[in-house]
């Protein structure tokens, strides 16, 4: 559908939020606690944090929870009975206040979960999730969406994109999808005629620092480079980068049983962990951290575009902000582009 442009007044924003809550939507919005901003279920508009460049965690947990039951099992006299989880109870959800880079991440994550087999649980959650994104009027030294094909006012992946139009606090609302249309239908009086707002004027300025297509080409001949070891010497091998990333999708399957019954649980995992590729034989094809760091970059900038036709990075910068030892992805990608093989 064509993007429809409307105008939302500052004091209409709370009314829109309240209208969604009144329609029994589960609304996830950024809330700040201990100085960290993350998406939480919110019923009260005043609890939403407005002052953030980027949330600490992405919103991927709404569609890909960090811990999720996928089936129940029980040992009985006939053997083992297996009961898949019922995906019907997935709630109609709205993610409020996400950035355009996270909305792009929804597509990249979806590409992984639909690569060969279709992940029904993930898809059911995506189908019931509406994204109300907010354009970026500010960026920091970790942001690089424009280097990976995005921009601070990108509409891709969002259902509605709101752009703060100056200090008055009013918004340009772009209704992008049918789901976005349904949000507008919840409170049509709040969506006024667009007076002709020039959106670009209000977006953060963020010149591209590298080209993701050039990086991809470079990586074809970069596998054996010493640059990986040089970059990753200070990497301590935790999973913070993967867990705050909007597109990292690796998971581990665990069985939790109590007596004769239990559940199979899908849990987040990370290629940065030393045990991630450890074989039962004791052999580990990624023995040292430099090989794991290489895998992270290769997967996002070479393997994903090759196999899924999407890049695995939205330039949100969370991995760098969340890294305890300042493994700055932007800086490392620039140096990959500059180093001669």
């Amino acid at each position: 559908m064509n993007i429809e442009k409307r105008f939302i007044r500052k004091d209409s924003l709370k009314k829109l939020f309240d209208a969604l809550v009144a329609k029994n939507k589960v609304v996830y919005a950024p809330v700040t606690r201990n100085g960290k901003t993350s998406f939480r279920i919110v019923n009260d508009f005043s609890l939403i944090s407005g002052d953030y460049i980027q949330t600490t965690q992405s919103s991927k947990e709404v569609t890909f929870p960090r811990t999720e039951k996928i089936l129940d099992f029980e040992k009985n006299k006939d053997g083992i009975g297996v009961k898949p989880v019922d995906i019907q109870p997935v709630h109609e959800s709205v993610i409020w206040g996400i950035r355009p880079c996270d909305a792009v991440g929804k597509g990249e994550l979806g590409a992984i979960f639909n690569w060969d087999s279709k992940d029904e649980i993930f898809n059911a959650r995506v189908a019931k999730t509406t994204l109300i994104s907010f354009s970026c009027s500010r960026a920091d030294e970790y942001c690089f969406c424009t280097s990976v094909g995005g921009n601070p006012g990108n509409t891709e992946g969002s259902d509605i994109l709101l752009t703060l139009a100056g200090e008055g606090g009013d918004y340009l609302a772009e209704i992008i999808t049918e789901k976005g249309g349904a949000v507008m239908a919840a409170a049509p009086e709040l969506f006024e005629k667009d007076p002709g707002i020039e959106k670009d004027k209000y977006l953060a300025s963020l010149p591209a620092r590298f080209s993701h297509t050039e990086i991809r080409n470079k990586l074809d001949k970069f596998f054996e480079s010493e640059e990986w070891a040089r970059q990753s010497l200070r990497c301590i091998g935790c999973g913070a980068c993967a867990y705050v990333c909007p597109t990292c999708a690796c998971f581990d399957i665990q069985d939790e049983s109590h007596g004769k019954s239990g559940s199979r649980v899908r849990c987040w995992d990370s290629c940065g962990f030393s045990l991630f590729t450890l074989h039962t034989s004791g052999h580990n094809p990624r023995e040292v951290q430099s090989q794991r760091w290489r895998q992270r970059i290769m997967h996002k900038f070479s393997y994903m575009p090759e196999r899924l036709s999407v890049y695995g990075c939205t330039g949100c910068g969370r991995c760098s902000r969340g890294c305890p030892v300042d493994m700055n992805l932007l800086e490392h990608l620039i140096s990959i582009q500059e180093v001669t093989v």
Binding site: I236, W268, P324, V325, D326, E331
Partner: protein
Amino acid sequence: MDELKNKVRELLGSGTVKVFIGYTTGTAGTKRALFAEKPEDAEGLVFDSSCIQNLAVYVTKQEVKEKGMMGISATLPVMRSLVQLARENQVSDSGIKVIGITPESRLIDFGNLSEVEKYIHQFQLEIDQKNRDMLEKLDKMTVSERWQFWLKELEPCFKCYACRAACPMCYCHRCTVEYNQPQWIPVPSHASGNLQWHIMRAVHLVGRCIDCDACANACPLAIPFNLLNKRMIEDARKHFGGYQPVLSGDHLMSTFKPDDKENFIR
């Protein structure tokens, strides 16, 4: 600063050390680790009060060790960690050269780890007042209030294990959470899994944790689980006379005696 740079140039130039672990300036003025391998790399070294990462975490890292003799710029917490690591046979004089940095930013060129041990014993391992107040506040809670406090604080934990990775004392190749035959600690980051993980980690660090806060500083979600470690340090002080890292001798928690007054241990 120039004194440190000169010292490192000299150490690398003479071949006394092959790699020197220090601090440099990272993104937006933050400080991060620098691994100097050539005398000219020393130019990037910096030191100020924002250099808080515990660099001792790198002396057990395979790729760093492989470079040969290590040098390290060591603040008091780093020195304490190195002595504890030496006590646990993870590092020795043949593998590391320590350049101490005092709280007044004075350099100390230590000849060996015994000198480091002697230096650190001038200072008590003590919890600061702010955290002592917090522990007292927790003590005054009822059991159910404290339970609620921990459930709430640990709820966001997604088990990225940055706390473990940043800790010099968590050098096990295979952590207890990674054993699944049998499964000791639940892998999922649900309430019970998170609680068991953080309690297990705190207990494994009793008598070994030197209160550097590297774990809490590394946490991307700012969870105050280091209060558990601080509680252990306080209890060790109260009931066992406290501890300091030492190069040899009995460990606080490894002094089993058949005539122990507690029955459960026999």
